[in-house]
Symmetry: C2
Subunit: 369 residues, 2 copies
């Protein structure tokens, strides 16, 4: 039986849920793939780091974190090493990147992933930063190094978006992507529409865990911008970064705006969107006609430019988008051959994030065959 | 370069659209798969049959059918052979089943597919009859014969449903399936809700091509029952037939029912649904606890029973299902690991049916590698 050694970088709620799912499915994985999957390292910023090449007892460390908020003294392999040390020096096959996101840089996740690739290791990331800020570079590194690189969880948890395109929409060219991808703003807009006060909504949302301590990244549209960037980089080969997104948050939406919309049978939603620039599309068609080539003489790609936006928009109450409520989200993908389809994730829990990582792990196992 | 020879059974709108898509993508297929795909036979009931092992000129025969409604005299290889003869005797690698559906028997499609498998040929079907009436038998035949068998198009055209589960929800156990799958009834209910008269709706729908000459199969829920059966047979291994579905059409829905619903903020939709019988689920859990076995001593499968229904139900106007209008459709899949997700097909054209068949062809090409 083969062995796959995992280094987990980060061990928050999603990491713990993934660890439990892995334990639950350990036997099934062995039966399906004939691979014994073991977590040999868990590196965290605040809970400590464990390195144990014999395999970490995941249920025990989950219990410790639940009880004490950190790994407990006496845990075999407990060290002070940081995540970069683990990435660079521990003997693992697959790094799972789950560290906290810096939405303005994608770090330190990008650095972790690069160092894993430099060692020829495989990477699964649930962190959207690297896909939003450095996708093409990382993808090319993975190809050069013969590493597998999966990132389904970075947008809409384990809901198939990237895999949907890769495995079920073969030979389709994606021409437009749109969606409601930030649940905090969706929740706030909904509660305001229901007549609640802004401060009251924020307070209740924080209490329920829908809204973060500092919700500015959500309210100003930064989170949504990172998500649409990740989608466009993967689905449309856009090669953009979040700062290129035409971004407008919901901070200037008033209760009166929402009331006015309702009176017209509409709701306000923070919509993410990306599509080819129109004249660029025309140029692309022209290039195709001329020489069936997409590369200019000096080797610079002549691909059409993708325009991305995040904006509050008026949505008809009967539209699918209007029905996306609470923590649900949706992405719509338009392609040349298959028209428009949408995928909706309904009221996800942390297990759906864990499944995204777990599904990518299964893809790594398949790739090892 | 390898060659893949296709026999098409049926050449209606979907078949013609598929033929055009195949021509459009011929070069790309060669570049991707190094396989030259040729249609060597097209068998139809009313347009004639063509058998030409050198490869049929698809654009020419599409043009002939558009102009004259049938293959024209002088077409190379034109014969009077019927589809069963083609399946049994022509030299092909892949049969594509596109013959008209008999919703009460699944024939003659089932017979076509069996005869293709008996010869060790691969099969792609867009015809839901075989998946609704004989899925397990056909699946087992394909496995025994080493044949590939794909059927994405049978529900919601090329929208990924079966491939979604197979390729993007690995190791997930499907626990519930629901959806709005019949666009004729959806259209009728919508138009009635908009205040139109029943006869007027039917006449307009027929004119627009949404409603068939005899819409009884749609209105009485037979089409929806066949679709939910196909979904459950594949996604939940239900092993049922459409006559086992607890079926109620929209024939008894009155305009008053619709008005009453609207007054309560609801709409009426013909909902398809399938889930495990509750006490059967408990039995299944028990069996797992006892012996981790699902087979009784005499070899009879002890799998939980799947209950299927097609019924008009009241849906809240804010619900996703209420937003599914026109010819759009939706399927929601609930699994143990990934919660509930939905896939929506928006206003499909015949190209989306063609893409379903085309996508399955690409899977066959991949399987040949």
């Amino acid at each position: 039986m083969k062995k796959l050694k995992i280094a987990m970088l980060g061990f928050g709620n999603a990491g713990q849920a993934f660890a439990k799912m892995l334990e639950l499915k350990r036997k099934e994985i062995i039966a399906c793939y004939n691979v014994d999957v073991q977590v040999v390292a868990i590196a965290t910023g605040t809970k400590g780091t464990i390195i144990d090449l014999d395999g970490i007892d995941l249920l025990k460390v989950c219990k410790d974190v639940e009880s004490y908020g950190k790994f407990t003294p006496g845990t075999k392999g407990l060290t002070h090493a940081d995540s970069l040390f683990v990435v660079k020096h521990v003997d693992y096959d697959l790094a799972i990147e789950l560290t906290p996101l810096n939405i303005f840089t994608g770090q330190p996740a990008i650095e972790h992933i690069k160092n894993a690739f430099l060692r020829g290791k495989h990477v699964v990331t649930a962190n959207k930063g690297p896909i939003a800020w450095a996708f093409r570079e990382l993808k090319e590194m993975a190809e050069t190094q013969g590493s597998m690189f999966f990132y389904e969880t970075t947008v809409m948890d384990g809901t198939p978006v990237f895999n949907l395109r890769e495995h079920t929409l073969k030979m389709c060219k994606v021409t437009q992507v749109s969606g409601i991808l930030n649940s905090t703003t969706n929740y706030i807009l909904e509660e305001l529409a229901a007549g609640k006060e802004y401060d009251q909504v924020i307070a209740a949302g924080k209490k329920a865990g829908f809204i973060e301590a500092d919700p500015a990244m959500d309210i100003q549209g930064y989170d949504a911008a990172a998500k649409i960037t990740a989608l466009l980089n993967v689905l449309m080969d856009a090669d953009i970064t979040p700062d290129k997104v035409d971004r407008e948050g919901i901070e200037n939406i008033t209760v009166q705006d929402i009331k006015d919309a309702l009176a017209r049978g509409k709701v306000i939603k923070l919509l993410c969107k990306g599509e080819f620039a129109k004249d660029e599309l025309a140029k692309d068609e022209l290039a195709k006609d001329e020489a069936s080539t997409k590369t200019t003489e000096d080797g610079i790609s002549n691909k059409p430019i993708v325009l991305a936006s995040v904006k509050p928009v008026l949505i008809d109450k009967n539209d699918l988008l209007a029905s996306i409520d609470g923590t649900s989200s949706v992405v719509s993908i338009t392609t040349d051959l298959m028209g428009k389809i949408s995928v909706v994730e309904h009221a996800p829990e942390i297990e759906q994030t864990a499944y995204g990582v777990f599904g990518d792990l299964l893809r790594v196992l398949e790739g090892l065959k």
